[in-house]
């Protein structure tokens, strides 16, 4: 492959990497927002209150989402770091 073809490809890679870091930055914000949702649930004793089991499922689903998302992002970052290093940066 000629050098000409290489350049846009590499730039695209580092662009991706920056957006990846943006996502990593955003993830805790998403988590905080999702975990703030319980603040909106009704507090009163009367009917229509959220059941604890539903709350557990919701909170743990958010947790799972964050863990899986975080894991995926961390792996992508690792790969992108390795590629960067290969390029001799």
């Amino acid at each position: 492959m000629s050098a000409k073809h290489n350049i846009p490809f590499l730039e695209r890679q580092s662009y991706r990497r920056r957006r990846l870091i943006d996502t990593i930055r955003m993830l805790p914000v998403i988590g905080a927002v999702l975990w703030a949702v319980p603040l909106l649930w009704r507090q009163s004793e009367d009917s229509g209150t959220v059941l604890t089991s539903d709350a557990i499922i919701y909170i743990f689903l958010v947790w799972l989402l964050l863990v899986v998302g975080g894991g995926w992002l961390a792996q992508s970052l690792k790969r992108s770091n390795a590629e960067e290093r290969e390029r001799g940066r």
Partner: protein, 896 residues
Amino acid sequence: MGTLNVLVGVCLIYVVFLFLIAFAAERAALEGKGGWLRSPMIYTLSLSIYCTAWTFYGAVGYAARSGLEYLTIYIGPSLVMIGWWWLLRKLVRIGRSQRITSIADLISSRYGKSNLLAVGVTVLAVIGTTPYIALQLQSVTVSFDVFSSAYGSELTEAAQGSNALLVAAGLTLFTIVFGTRNLDVNERHHGVVMAVAVEAIVKLFALLAVGIFVVWGLGGGVSETLARIDASEIGQWQMRGDRWATLIFLSGAAFLCLPRMFQVMVVENENEDHLRTASWAFPAYLMIMSLFVVPIAVVGLDLMPAGSNPDFFVLTVPLATGNDALAMLSFIGGFSSATSMVIVAALALSTMVSNHIVMPIWLSTQSVGASVSGDVRHVVLLSRRISIGAVVFLGYLYFRLSGGGSALASMGLISFAGVAQFLPVLIGGIFWRGATRTGAFAGLTVGFVIWAYTLLLPSFGAGTLVSETMLAEGPMGVGWLRPQAFFGITGMDPLVHAVFWSILLNTMSFFIASLVGFPSPLERLQGAQFVNVFEHSSTPQSWGGSLAQTEDLMVMAQRIIGAREAQNLFEREAKRQGMSGLLPEPSPDFLQRLERELAGSVGAATAHAMIGQIVGGASVSVEDLMAVADETAQMMEYSSRLEAKSEEQARTARQLRQANEKLTLISEQKDSFLSQVSHELRTPMTSIRAFSEILRDSDRLSEEEKIKYSSIIHDEALRLTRLLDDLLDLSVLESGRVNLNLQSGSLKGILDHAVSSALTGAGTSKVQVVRDSQQEEVMLYTDLDRLSQVFINLIGNAQKYCDASVPKLRIEVGHSTGALVVDFIDNGSGIPKVEQAVIFEKFSRTGEQRVKGAGLGLAICREIMTRLGGTVEYLPGQGGAAFRVTLPEEAALAAQ
């Protein structure tokens, strides 16, 4: 009682197992084989000391009391870990590049290495952590108690106390053995970290086992358990929003600020990449840890008699269902969480206490200072050990004094709120360059005072440390200062109230005091280093192997001390270590020797920084830089001194060369002078000898001839006499030994005398002298005889050399700037240009030898005029030969 003995036995075996693990890890690390010790998983697991006995036992109790609120304690840290890119990454980088040893060290380093600040943070950390250690001791003893009461033998309070003491002693021993084995520059403790990681697995496994047993063994499956949860007393979502948000914030803050968390997260961090893995793996760990808490709580509430302590459902539920093995596993899990927390907390606190309190005091009592390094290392280790003992003992004391009464959770939260006061200073320090030491002091002080006043003191119960009236009406009746209702805002949850006001006022004081104050230079430097850490430090290299390090050291050493010497040094070291080849292991011993060797060439600070850069992967600290700059300045001064000296020598050499050239020239001049003099002397001598021989030997000479010959002899003798007179005169003048006979007289008189003297005996061919007597009316104060001699010579020259048919000499007197000039201009053909340059030299005569003369006249004139402070020079372009005599104005003025 048998089961109890088994329990004690299992406990002991477990402890021995931990010792072995830690020992093996230390050994592997020492031999450089422990690559797996530095895996990201170990790092993640070591973070789990966040989950103490408070999590293991307390979370279930918490859930049984307040429903899902316990989750906030794990949600906060999860968010912090997920958001690692924002904060933890920077914290870890700073910790590595600045060689931070504790949170107190971090804060003091950031704020200009203020030891006072470090002492403050240390004291506050100890205050905040002591109840927590007490909590762990309590959980271990209570769990013992739970076991023994289940088997019908109540433990006495004394037995409980001795149990706690035993546990405390064991933990102290473990921490001392593995926490202070050696003084590592990077403060990493592989043994401790490994043990903590193993304990993390044990407690997770134990809690999972109990959870699975409860859900599938007792609850009858997931859906049944969920139904059971909804049917229980915590079945409805009842959560105060303020508590939910506050607790998430609080746990996140505490996760960052707890000394033990800082220890494992930042200080023990081997590689920044580990953080990337931990960012998702640790939230996963927390999630799994808290997954079965509610089911256990609900089943416990169902199963156990009313009034039993929900904090120990994890133990009592398996016991009540006759599952002794599971109960024992659960006990070990609780034991693990308690011990790992105490070990790391004691380690972290002891580092702080020893570095910031004990060592400064010890050093200040020593007159010599820290120059004797071996001695100090010993003292540091000793002070660490004593500090560990003191910290654990303090926890034990607190446990005994407080009686271990209050619920685990509230005790933990108070502790959290205490250490969370570090947060504004910490965050401000690493993101805001304007944060100052004064601000940090103000923030921490305000925060801790409010925390103690609103949370810690009331927590001991109304009427003990804070009177009930004070709680209800405020101190001395000042209502808006009520400990649990600042500014009269009632109805807030006490914890939320305390956290809100303490953090808010803490941050505000920190901010305002920072704005007002002015930081010291070191503070500003450190501020820049911390805030812009990613610009100042490159990603620390992760070394492929230790030999790679040695190779780098070799490259560096060769550059500094020379290839041959470096290779010899390395080979010698390798031989000493019993290795074949050139490259030795980078043992501390070898590094020290190498550093000393390098220090001889580049200075101690530079050598230290260079080796540190290669071995530690840490960037150079400000102090290092300052030391390096100092050394460099010294060297530069030395070399500039050398340079000056060599310049001076060069100057001297140049002067000598010039002097030599001059001497050679003078010597040549003297030679040519002598040869000329002898020539001048010889010519008359030859004729005198010839004619005197004729007179002596010839008898037939006529009288006329006799007269002619003797007059020739007479003339020549006169000429000789004149020549000798001139020479004498010249030599006197040149040597400067001439005495000037200063007197006043008129220029006109001198010229009259000179003209008449010069033209005596000239006969008919007398030169016609043209003068302007008006101009000559100038009084002089000088050596008149000498001046007249010059004039005679010049007039005589005109008489002798002027080749015009009607020779005429004009004598003009005038004034030039600051000088009196007398020009002698004849109407002859003048002196050719090439000869103008040499006419003042000795023995120079122009044209053919028409007139007899030694050629010394003008030389003498020049000498005389120099003595008189004036000059005589040839004046070109006047139509004939022209000479200008310049006399200084003083000579003319002084006479008037």
